[in-house]
């Protein structure tokens, strides 16, 4: 199967600070990330704040240019596609439905805007299409002339989803789409996203810090740490058999609603990852409960675990013959 989305050595750095008598620092937000997403799949991206998830989302949307490496959509570099073509095929759903909708425009106008930008149909046709899409995401047509301020958070997120889907894209980049919502509303939105995926044969990149949600939605998962992918595998395998100590710690930290189990000890210690001062060697080694000699000096490479879907970047497993170093 030809992948719908692929990144090759995708990197992005920012220059930050640089005040009086201070040299600007380089912040490597995304560091040589290789990802593959097949049509109809959902690629979950997890990691702590500052790991580069949202920068990655902006790179995939073409909102940021890579410092090096490239993003391929259906085999074509985003840079060559141009913004018009790109926005037809890739659409975003962001975290905060309060700031991502123009408060001065009506709901129907907001949803019809992508059609307007692309000059599709006349005004009445666009409005009809927008209302159809609103109904599809579970809003009734009498919301069409409301402003975002008159809707609840869940309804606003439905509007954002309708706007993303009105152009019939192939790929939707969801950046924390349910993080600002209540539990009951989160369930509605997740159900909707999964239904729409089947109906329109969509692919998602699903970025979230909520691992239970990612496990529920994603077909494959990439775990990011300080800009790097440290483990990637099919969702079922990753959650059943996490290999990287960081993935293990992340999964151990999830508080499932099971009384009596208490709060888990993650064993991560207090060294907080600072993207401006990344550690030498493996970026995770200062917090790693299983660190060894080479971890502080040698940067591990991402290698395929033989006989599994997993890719892994960890010295613990690197000497293991079950892992082939990625020689490409």
């Amino acid at each position: 199967m030809k992948p719908i989305l692929q990144t090759e050595g995708l990197s992005r750095s920012f220059s930050v600070g640089g005040g009086f008598l201070q040299a600007p620092r380089k912040l490597q937000a995304v560091d040589k990330v290789d990802l593959v997403l097949n049509p109809g799949d959902v690629l979950g991206i997890v990691g702590e704040s500052g790991c580069g998830k949202s920068t990655l989302a902006r790179l995939l949307l073409g909102l940021l240019k890579p410092s090096s490496g490239r993003v391929l959509l259906g085999g074509v570099d985003l840079q060559e596609l141009g913004p018009r073509e790109l926005s037809k095929r890739v659409q975003p759903v962001f975290q905060d439905p309060y700031s991502s909708l123009n408060p001065r425009r009506s709901i129907a106008d907001i949803v019809a805007l992508p059609l307007e930008v692309h000059g599709l149909g006349n005004r009445a046709q666009r409005r009809r299409q927008a209302i159809d899409m609103l109904e599809r995401v579970g809003l009734s047509s009498h919301h069409a002339d409301n402003r975002p301020g008159q809707l609840s958070g869940g309804q606003r997120q439905r509007v954002a989803i309708a706007r993303a889907l009105v152009m019939k894209p192939e790929l939707v980049i969801c950046d924390e789409p349910t993080s600002a919502l209540d539990m009951s509303v989160q369930a509605q939105i997740l159900n909707l996203l999964l239904e729409l995926r089947r109906e329109f044969n969509l692919s998602y990149v699903f970025i979230s810090h909520n691992l239970a949600v990612v496990e529920h939605v994603a077909t494959s998962v990439a775990v990011m740490y300080l800009g790097k992918v440290v483990e990637q595998a099919d969702s079922a395998e990753l959650f059943k058999q996490p290999r990287h100590p960081y993935t293990q710690a992340l999964l151990a930290s999830v508080l499932t609603p099971e009384p009596g189990l208490g709060i888990p000890d993650t064993g991560l210690g207090l060294a907080f990852p600072d993207p401006l001062h990344p550690p030498s060697g493996c970026p995770f080694h200062p917090r790693c409960p299983q660190r060894m000699d080479p971890c502080a000096s040698l940067i591990p490479t991402l290698g395929k675990v033989v006989g599994s879907s997993a890719w892994l970047s960890c010295h613990l497993h690197q000497s293991n013959p079950a892992i082939q170093a990625d020689l490409s």
């Binding site: 702590e48 009951s184 239970a212 099971e258 000890d265």
Partner: protein
């Protein structure tokens, strides 16, 4: 005085909070009752707008100006908080009752160092010397797991990460060893890994010091792992209250049941399957409201639900507000 009375830290009966709005009085909290013992954790859980944060502010005497609280009883260690003067409340707040807020960045003052903020309440309440307060601050920063505590005292909040700021908040709340700790979403703004660390820390300190904790959260995972008892709030009311194990195993209120079905549970919910959603929206809290507040969204609603619904009580202490004798599974 009997042992149980001696251990009673907080006694709340029929606490209500009304907020004056242009459209009328908004009943943010309606007739809330609970008791909290020494060393116990009670979770208030519910979705936004259910009144859980208003409840915590009402207990601390920190309600916004437009809000008015009333209660049949509101006692901290046997002292009537409703009758206490503002001066007396100020004396209790920080010393006998302390609060941890969700956003450590907005709750800490950016213009003062960590040390100044930590020592302030201790100097004020204990009338101690600066060196004593400093020693106490260093001791507590060590307790909350901050390395090189002495240097931390001279740092400003912006120099700390979110997790460290929340540790400072916890240390600040514990400076005077309060009997009651109110924690309003203490880990919501944090990453899961840091959340686990912070909550573990809270549990350890609470056990060690025998603090009674009221934990306000929307996260059922946090409730299950932290609390002995839980009160589920909906539209300003407690709809179900009881031991955590009882409520998670056999919820008696349709809202609690629906809430538990909303969240994907690893290992239990099949990936990609439809999650239980709650249709509809929370009713307006402005004006008078009769009957069950959940009836418009409830799968089992009947005509009788429009009448006032009394609280049912089981011998285990489990109580719920629903006319159904038993919930269909």
């Amino acid at each position: 005085m009997s042992d149980s009375a001696k251990d009673l830290v907080l006694d709340v009966q029929d606490l209500s909070v009304d907020i004056a709005t242009p459209r009328g009085s908004l009943h943010a909290v309606r007739k809330l009752s609970f008791q909290l013992q020494r060393g116990e954790t009670l979770c208030l859980v519910g979705e936004s707008g259910c009144g859980k944060s208003m409840t915590s502010l009402a207990l601390m005497g920190l309600l916004p100006k437009a809000a008015r609280r009333s209660a049949a009883r509101l006692e901290l260690l046997g002292e009537d908080l409703m009758a206490a003067s503002p001066k007396r409340i100020n004396a209790l707040r920080g010393r006998q009752m302390a609060m941890i807020f969700q956003e450590p960045m907005t709750a800490l003052n950016p213009a003062y160092t960590v040390g100044e903020q930590l020592m302030e309440s201790y100097l004020h309440h204990r009338k101690s010397s600066v060196s004593e307060a400093r020693a106490r601050a260093i001791f507590l920063l060590g307790k909350v797991g901050m390395a090189s505590a002495e240097q931390r005292l001279t740092q400003y909040p912006h120099q700390l990460s979110g997790g460290l700021r929340q540790r400072v908040m916890i240390a600040m709340a514990l400076m005077c060893e309060p009997a009651l700790l109110v924690a309003d979403e203490p880990s919501t703004a944090l990453d899961v890994t840091i959340q686990a660390q912070i909550l573990r820390l809270l549990v350890d300190l609470q056990r060690e010091l025998g603090i009674a904790m009221l934990l306000v959260t929307h996260d059922l995972g946090v409730v299950a792992r932290m609390a002995q008892r839980v009160a589920v709030m909906y539209a300003g009311e407690v709809v179900e209250q009881g031991a955590v194990s009882d409520i998670f195993a056999t919820p008696h209120h349709p809202y609690t049941q629906a809430l538990l079905r909303c969240i994907p549970v690893p290992g239990r919910t099949a990936p990609g399957s439809a999650l239980g959603a709650i249709p509809g929206q929370v009713p307006s809290l402005v004006g008078e409201f009769q009957g069950c507040s959940f009836r418009d969204r409830c799968a089992y609603a009947q005509a009788a639900c429009a009448q006032p619904v009394p609280m049912k009580r089981a011998a285990s202490g489990h109580s719920w507000r629903c006319i159904l004798a038993e919930l269909p599974a």
